[in-house]
């Protein structure tokens, strides 16, 4: 058998990731988003201009892996920290990394006002429909019928209310310029999400205002499903309520 020359087209780790080592569950979707963020910041040449503000959730464990300046926030508070940091460093690329429990439960007020004020930051929402870190409890984005630790029979509107669709809540606000929801349930979805993140960062760099990219991520542990069924559950159950697509571009709401 003859030897063949090959070109490496994909690295284990993005250049801006310090280590692959994390203890998140098998099949967790959150690290997939970290890869996209770090690859994009490197491609845009912004490693020495980026500041990440990380919330509290499973993904907090990813913060030490990031080769960028990072500020750790309290649960729900990342958008206000991002506001203060961006006002002092307007030339930076400022992103938050928050889960649904963090942004939509604890920190709903913060993100709404940050968007309404049109702060030039990009909030990134990792939405798996549960509080993963505490063991899989209902959040404001949990869908009707979804079983969680405190909705064991499935979320019931009469007893537990209705889910909040975060992108739909933010898109109408005047200060929000780019709002999109992606997913990471398969390679095609990951690629589309990458484009959304890129557009969000570009809108921030152009000074167009607030951007939100919500990404549906797998949490088979929190969903009580076998790991292999995570992507299917994500697309079929969460994706049916939190629809994937762009909601707003360049300040204009899009028809969906």
């Amino acid at each position: 058998m003859s030897e063949r020359v090959a070109e490496r087209t994909g690295e284990f780790l993005p250049r801006l990731q310090l280590s692959p080592d994390h203890d998140l569950c098998p099949g967790c979707g959150e690290p997939l988003v970290l890869r996209l963020i770090l690859e994009l910041i490197d491609e845009l040449g912004l490693a020495e201009r980026a500041i990440g503000v990380v919330g509290i959730g499973c993904y907090t464990a990813l913060a030490p892996l990031i080769d960028l300046d990072v500020i750790q926030a309290l649960h729900g508070r990342a958008p206000s920290l991002a506001t203060g940091a961006k006002r002092m460093r307007p030339e930076s690329l400022l992103f938050t990394l928050q889960g649904d429990g963090d942004m939509v439960n604890e920190g709903l007020q913060e993100v709404i006002h940050t968007a309404a004020r049109g702060e030039n930051v990009t909030c990134i929402l990792l939405n798996n429909g549960v509080f993963g870190e505490t063991g899989g409890h209902m959040t404001a984005t949990t869908v009707l019928g979804q079983r969680t630790k405190n909705t064991l029979e499935g979320r019931d509107a009469a007893r537990h209310g209705h889910p909040i669709r975060m992108c739909e809540l933010i898109a109408p606000l005047g200060g929000a310029t780019y709002v999109a929801r992606g997913s990471v349930h398969d390679a095609a979805a990951v690629s589309k999400t990458r484009r959304m993140l890129r557009r969000a960062f570009e809108s921030q760099l152009a000074g167009e205002g607030f951007s939100l990219v919500e990404v549906l991520t797998m949490c088979p542990t929190g969903w009580f499903v076998p790991t292999k069924e995570g992507p299917g559950y994500l697309n079929g159950v969460l994706g049916a309520v939190h629809g994937v697509g762009e909601l707003k571009r360049e300040g204009k709401l899009l028809a969906r």
Partner: protein, 73 residues
Amino acid sequence: MSAQGTVVIATERCKGCELCIPACPPRVLAMSETRNAIGARVPELLPGCTGCGACLLVCPDFCFEVYRYTGEA
């Protein structure tokens, strides 16, 4: 026809989640019976890899390095 690409898999950190298996378009990843030090079954590469990189995109543990063949030596 020889494969257009190949991957190197860092099996030592694989957690056996199996997300790469259905993500691979030509279906050339299969779970082997080999287990790594943490006890997880790890994937192996079958012939026919196109070097598309889908596995790299969906792996939560950064286990894939992807190559495209550029010609015979």
